[in-house]
Symmetry: C2
Subunit: 601 residues, 2 copies
Amino acid sequence: MSGYTAPLKDMRFVLNELAGLGDVANLPGYEDASPETVDAILEGASKFASEALDPLNYSGDREGSVWSDGNVTTPKGFKDAYRQFAEGGWPALPFGAKWGGQGLPKLVATVVEEMVISANMSFSLCPLLTQGAVHALELAGSEALKKTYLEKMVAGRWTGTMNLTEPQAGSDLALVRTRAVPASSAGHGDHYLISGQKIFITYGEHDLAENIVHLVLARTPDAPEGVKGISLFVVPKFLPNADGTPGERNSAKCASIEHKLGIHASPTAVMVFENAKGYLVGEPNRGLSYMFVMMNAARFGVGLQGVAIAERAFQRALAYARERLQGKDLLQGSKTVPIIRHPDVRRMLMLMKSQTEAARALAYVVAAAMDTASRTKDKEEAKRLQAFIDLMIPVVKGWSTEMGIEVASLGVQVHGGMGFIEETGAAQHLRDARIATIYEGTTGIQAGDLLGRKIAREGGVTVKGWLEVLKGLDQALAKSADADIQVVRQRLAAGAQAVADCVDYVLAAAGKDPNAAFAGAVPFLMLMGVVAGGWQMARAALIAERKLRKKEGDAAFLAAKIKTVRFFADHVLAQAGGLAVTVTQGAGAVMALPEEQFLAA
Amino acid sequence: MSGYTAPLKDMRFVLNELAGLGDVANLPGYEDASPETVDAILEGASKFASEALDPLNYSGDREGSVWSDGNVTTPKGFKDAYRQFAEGGWPALPFGAKWGGQGLPKLVATVVEEMVISANMSFSLCPLLTQGAVHALELAGSEALKKTYLEKMVAGRWTGTMNLTEPQAGSDLALVRTRAVPASSAGHGDHYLISGQKIFITYGEHDLAENIVHLVLARTPDAPEGVKGISLFVVPKFLPNADGTPGERNSAKCASIEHKLGIHASPTAVMVFENAKGYLVGEPNRGLSYMFVMMNAARFGVGLQGVAIAERAFQRALAYARERLQGKDLLQGSKTVPIIRHPDVRRMLMLMKSQTEAARALAYVVAAAMDTASRTKDKEEAKRLQAFIDLMIPVVKGWSTEMGIEVASLGVQVHGGMGFIEETGAAQHLRDARIATIYEGTTGIQAGDLLGRKIAREGGVTVKGWLEVLKGLDQALAKSADADIQVVRQRLAAGAQAVADCVDYVLAAAGKDPNAAFAGAVPFLMLMGVVAGGWQMARAALIAERKLRKKEGDAAFLAAKIKTVRFFADHVLAQAGGLAVTVTQGAGAVMALPEEQFLAA
């Protein structure tokens, strides 16, 4: 079985050339992100991912996490790997020094996270959720809460969860029923008693850490109905003692864990709260807005899962394609050759490689924007960048995860019959990838957010600004003498025009016929992804061309990058026109069928 | 969990209006296929599928077939269901009366098979493989072999297998190594001793029937190398006694069964032959050509799996979308509504429904062509139809199965988080569907067959003939006053043009640069599928319009059909232009990357 190798050359190229690590490192507070430090971090993370996490990926899938009497045992090796992960300081990477973090840019943490996910997606979910919980507490928690929880969570000694979903409340959090009744008692101070059932709680129970810090959405007795009556609470598994050690067991219990298609090692808990002690985070009834802040980070993290799983599936398929002998070369062949010589296998590998690189580039560029938005002293720039980030988060989440499924499925296909056999490992990537278009908001939810909140609500200002950026790039591309880059330019321009047409359509439709605007939301999101990915790929091609001209860098890698970009243009960007037709002309047919005519038996 | 209901209205519409059951029933030998008989068969099959097979689908997946000491036990209930299946005469449906068959058209058998697969894909594979073996024996077996085996196989008492693949010989059968040494002995007459290992043998061992008839590809000692030295043998599990009962156990043993992503109930055997007694089928060294004949039938059958699993996934998603309450209606809403009211869920359901109907229509039309080609007295018509069938088999196989995966994955998506939970059942359809693009020749193999053997080799005669048929349809569509049909016409014409462009490109490239011709083979196959599906959908819309005008038939169903066709045009046919760009301009980038640049670590 092939092992994971961090694609460091591409990661560094994207980091330095596209995402601008140099500029990020010049931001206040990021002085530590020197090229040497970042290099050392990437090397260390790469080693940890390949040596500690990757070997547990297949066995973790086979074994799964196991529930027994309220406790969850993670697969063999996970506990030790998590200990190493915490001891290595990896959970602390993106957090501020105040709570023991390393204060490194989101951009650098993103690269490390990609490696961790590629090596072991199930494992990676525990730190991802913990990160979200830390963000929520940083954002809205009282000083007392921060003091009690943050240091331990940043150190990875305690982990975090997000308790949103209930059986009747999934995408629609207005339907949350969990109750929070104010109480007070000696030793616990003012608190709330939380009662209700939460489902789909990732790492809701496990054996990796000393304590689990649940962030729970619930309603106080006097709360208004709907989303405006939801508050956020901290509900620890063990109530902290005065000295900060985990004390009395809280009545937050794991009733069972789910039997899932993939991510078997990651326990997905049904949590039952019975008068569990909880502490209000921030103001009452503002829980959903706090959650949305951390959800943006979580959505970005899930988008990164699409990239990471695609990379892992690609590497496995590539290893097989190089080694499996079958068929003759179409041109020279009397000898049986590795299947990578066959055009269709090559096409699949290029589709995997080029889309993975495009999605990676987009994700890292958005991460760099987050760093700049949060640290720049230029308030206008921060505002502009935040709008860009908000626009792109649903694209990174929705498009990269749909791409992740496609690429993982191609990975199975490259293996032929062996791909269907679980021991090969390719099928696991498909099963694991399949969740990423669902949790933290389905692709449909992302697309609705993109069209509604991020475009229609502001009259398309930000997306039109981005289209102007694409025009600027078009002019730069026009100056290239490279024939491949000229084709890329042509397809990117067609893609940008397709986006512009769709934006006009959506802005016109949104007010008068929301169904017509939203019927094409997902094809529009996919179009945005294809064009945004194409944007970064076209930039990459131009930079590669310039560096080749100046004889800088690895010439073979740079030449390959231009060819990969050309492939992306012909095989992925070429879909743009069709998607635009669907968005702008296909809405009517979506709602045309009477409900009772869907199945005529 | 939602049950399977045969979509009888659509099946009958396609059968009668598009595939022309009336004309098929007028062919010599198909007189029994009267409307009443066919109706009774469909009702009976629908009942059997829903009541006997569907309830075993989920439990069969959970339990799986189990190997122990060379024996395989199928999941609980399978043995009894198979007994009912055989007693009901279902295996005999498509075979001639000579061996006890019912002599019904392939077209009718196809509808029944769709139901069986929808209800239980794992179960359906046993009769599918048996059918293939019966065809091979009918085609090339001696009278003695036919007499010994066919009656029992047609009755379903003995089942059949196809033993092609070996560890080193998958898509490339030239690499087959299994040996067949001539021998002779009292009681067994002239036979061969077969030795070798075969893998991926569907129902290679099981407990459903009295005997298993393996058809095995092997080489005789003096055989030429490569595909021209492969012969076909019958190797029964139990050597038949003189009275036809199963006798001595042959040394064809099941060494293990695979642990697969899906179709868990269907045992996929590793078969070991150690001087097993085998009987030559037809002439030596012609095994592959016999296999190809039965492979066409098998490929059609696998294509049908794409349709059937898509239908099942659609029905499950539809049931959930009608019952799951979440979110408000975009137009009128203060109340929480079933998610089928939301445009994106509706879009997914329409994508599932319209593509399933398109692929079904294409498959049934090809089945009807098989019936006519085999029974018509007009030799020119038979030849023309056979060429059409040969052209369309890889499309039915490749496109319908890729579509099946897409639709099954959409089915998971419609369920949101519940789709990822195995108990929901949606994930099983995705896992089951995933094999269909692989076995009986991957999509890449189908696409190569389509471009090479079916188009380039004959200078595109048949595909150009089909494009003329599309032109005729275009003229008929032009006469419609229906606005939806006018849009359908426009998109179908663009699709046909896209096919024509690709055919010109391929014919020009095939001779001088095969890599360039074949680099876009799969996108071309997908284009052919989309346009061929669109062809049948456009015919359906025209027929529905005519019947509505004449006030014939179910008006609500017919109106819904036109809307479904319109959706297909805007959301599926709209992809045609992008696919053509990829085929005609994207080949260069496929082979451009040096092999060592695929992974730059």
